[in-house]
């Protein structure tokens, strides 16, 4: 990577993968992230619709409680070097699938006659895995180190599920809203980070 963040320098280290292949991979992953951002928005809308008001009302603001193993993109994220941003994107995308599975299980009990919502939640888990893997492939192609997956994400998600279930239905609804919101934030963040690497994209 050149010192000028957000661009690819063809004069850089020859250990970097052939440029056209890397550019193609970045473009494809960016396109995937853009598509999934749209799906994530649809998922969120579908989710709030089935929880009932005040979920989905303008100004609805439940406490933004931390979710096990995952937080929102930090305010300073955009200022980090590109490989570090992509590493954080990949880590978040890796942590999301078990949380989305927990939300799907809750919703299967709360909204069993909402097949489209349940399908979207199932698809989101798969899509997060796919995008995370694609981002890691870009990192590998850039010659940057990829961090391993978060420690026991499935166990963290299981703990979250148990806690939410014990606390009641309303907290479970809030948890689902939080997870769907985080999914949208991270997919959108990934799209933005990859967009800066696309040749001809914003620096």
């Amino acid at each position: 990577m050149s010192r000028r963040e957000g661009s690819l320098d063809p004069q850089a280290d020859s250990s970097i993968s052939p440029l056209p292949h890397l550019e193609a991979k970045i473009r494809q992953t960016h396109s995937l992230a853009r598509l999934l951002t749209k799906y994530a928005e649809q998922l969120l809308q579908e989710y709030v619709q089935h929880q009932g008001d005040p979920f989905g009302l303008p100004g609805f603001s439940p406490p933004r409680l931390p979710v096990a193993g995952l937080s929102a993109p930090a305010p300073g994220h955009a200022g980090l070097p590109a490989p570090e941003r992509l590493r954080l994107d990949a880590a978040a995308l890796s942590a999301l699938p078990p949380l989305l599975d927990v939300v799907r299980r809750h919703q299967a009990e709360l909204n069993p006659r909402a097949p489209r919502l349940l399908r979207r939640l199932e698809d989101a888990a798969r899509q997060a895995r796919a995008l995370g893997a694609a981002v890691e492939a870009v990192l590998a192609a850039l010659g940057a180190e990829t961090r391993g997956p978060p420690v026991e994400p499935a166990a963290a998600a299981a703990a979250a599920a148990a806690a939410a279930t014990d606390a009641g239905v309303f907290p479970a609804k809030v948890l689902g809203l939080r997870v769907c919101g985080l999914y949208r934030e991270w997919v959108s963040r990934t799209e933005g980070d990859l967009g800066q690497l696309v040749p001809g994209g914003p620096a």
């Binding site: 089935h50 929880q51 009932g52 008001d53 005040p54 979920f55 009302l57 609805f60 603001s61 439940p62 406490p63 409680l65 931390p66 979710v67 096990a68 193993g69 709360l110 909204n111 069993p112 006659r113 420690v151 026991e152 166990a155 963290a156 703990a159 979250a160 806690a163 939410a164 014990d166 606390a167 009641g168 239905v169 309303f170 907290p171 609804k173 809030v174 948890l175």
Partner: protein, 400 residues
């Protein structure tokens, strides 16, 4: 390992207040009352109930419904509750003075299920069983209600539960295999929700009495020589039942191309061809056939009609003479059909045979005469010259 900070659990050192609502996620009958409390905890201690308020499904509840029980507890009294707005539960939320959410509880207000009824079942080619039912008298319980179709052999065996739901509508189930013949089944539906359960009456049936099959395949419709008011319909007996002993009834329906009104011929028994008569000349007709496999293995019950075959189209030959409307099916053997003209003709021919000893008269002769008449009219028109509109100047021959 971070744990989820669940709503209601205080965050150390944050200065934030949280609360607990009681009861959590209650289930209530429509029209009943609810007494709830919101108890505030806080850091620093001394959280107060002053200024707290309630919302239900996002709407602020009137202050007169609340009262402060003590320094940290706000009570709520709701009467004559309506059914839940969504199946995931109504959202009852306790808010701080600044509007922030302190706690939530989901209310489930509804009715217990009523007895499902009107169970009907059918078996496709004796291979499976599909059943449909109607949920309770009113259907709407405002709560998620689970329906379970159960079945067992009448005199022995254990209860089984159907697993493939919503196959032909929201209240249906499909049993794909392992069904016994010649022995009755008992079938019923159980409905369950948070407020109770109900069970339908038991339906007893033998698979052989509720058999349906596929529509007849290979339906062909063709002209009958030059006869302008007739079409011949041929089909094949449903192959799935070819190895089984049964009597087949067929129904034919047909309509003019640009009409929505079907005419039905329903006395077509155990044959695979039929002639439609009394049709309009020069007209495209759509034809469909369906089958009822009654009497399988000696069953005495009427079977169940199959779906109609895909429409097949054909046109009658064109003629200037308008043909009669309506029609009936004539078997290829020339036996009488159900049309009024032909019925009367049948009676006349029968009388002739009895009283005038005209044994050679038959419908075949009549059809041949009609075909001859049409040819004769066409030839005469060609000799006399047809009017530009295609209308005849005069008509000759017997009226139809």
């Amino acid at each position: 390992l971070l744990l989820l900070c669940v709503l209601g659990a205080p965050r150390a050192g944050s200065g934030a207040h949280t609360a607990v609502i009681s009861p959590q996620d209650p289930t209530l009958l429509i029209g009943s009352s609810l007494q709830a409390t919101c108890s505030v905890h806080g850091d620093p201690p001394g959280a107060t109930a002053e200024g707290l308020y309630w919302t239900l499904n996002g709407r602020r509840l009137a202050p007169e419904l609340s009262r402060v029980l003590n320094a940290s507890t706000l009570a709520l009294a709701l009467a004559n509750l309506n059914g839940s707005r969504q199946q995931s539960g109504d959202n009852l939320v306790c808010h701080a003075r600044d509007g922030s959410i302190l706690a939530g509880s989901c209310l489930y207000v509804g009715l217990p299920p009523e007895k499902p009824f009107n169970i009907s079942c059918w078996s496709k080619n004796m291979k499976d069983l599909t059943c449909r039912w109607t949920p309770g008298a009113h259907g709407e319980t405002f709560l998620h209600t689970n329906y379970s179709l159960k079945y067992k052999l009448r005199w022995y065996g254990q209860d089984n539960t159907c697993e493939e739901y919503h196959t032909v509508g929201p209240h249906s189930c499909h049993i794909p295999k392992d069904l016994a013949l010649f022995t009755p089944y008992e079938i019923w539906v159980e409905a369950t929700n948070r407020l109770g359960s109900a069970r339908s009456d038991v339906l007893t049936l033998d698979i052989l009495d509720v058999v349906t099959t596929d529509p007849p395949p290979d339906v062909h419709v063709s002209r009958v020589g030059g006869l302008e008011d007739q079409l011949s319909v041929r089909w094949v007996s449903p192959p799935a039942l070819k190895d089984f002993l049964f009597q087949a009834k067929y129904q034919i329906r047909y309509r003019v191309e640009d009409s929505v009104d079907w005419k039905v011929v329903d006395d077509v028994s155990n044959q695979t061809s039929c002639r439609l008569a009394g049709l309009k000349p020069g007209t495209v007709y759509f034809v469909q056939v369906r089958c009822n496999p009654f009497g399988i293995y000696g069953s005495k019950k009427a079977g169940i009609w199959s779906e109609w075959s895909h429409p097949t189209a054909a046109s009658t030959p064109r003629s200037e003479r308008p043909g009669p409307g309506g029609g009936a099916c004539e078997p290829r053997g020339g036996e009488p059909s159900s049309g009024p003209v032909r019925r009367e003709l049948k009676q006349f021919l029968g009388w002739l045979k009895k009283h005038a000893y005209c044994s050679n008269l038959s419908f075949r002769l009549y059809d041949q005469w009609r075909a001859w008449m049409q040819k004769t009219h066409k030839t005469r028109n060609q000799d006399e010259g047809i009017l530009p509109s295609g209308r005849r100047g005069t008509t000759r021959g017997p009226a139809r």
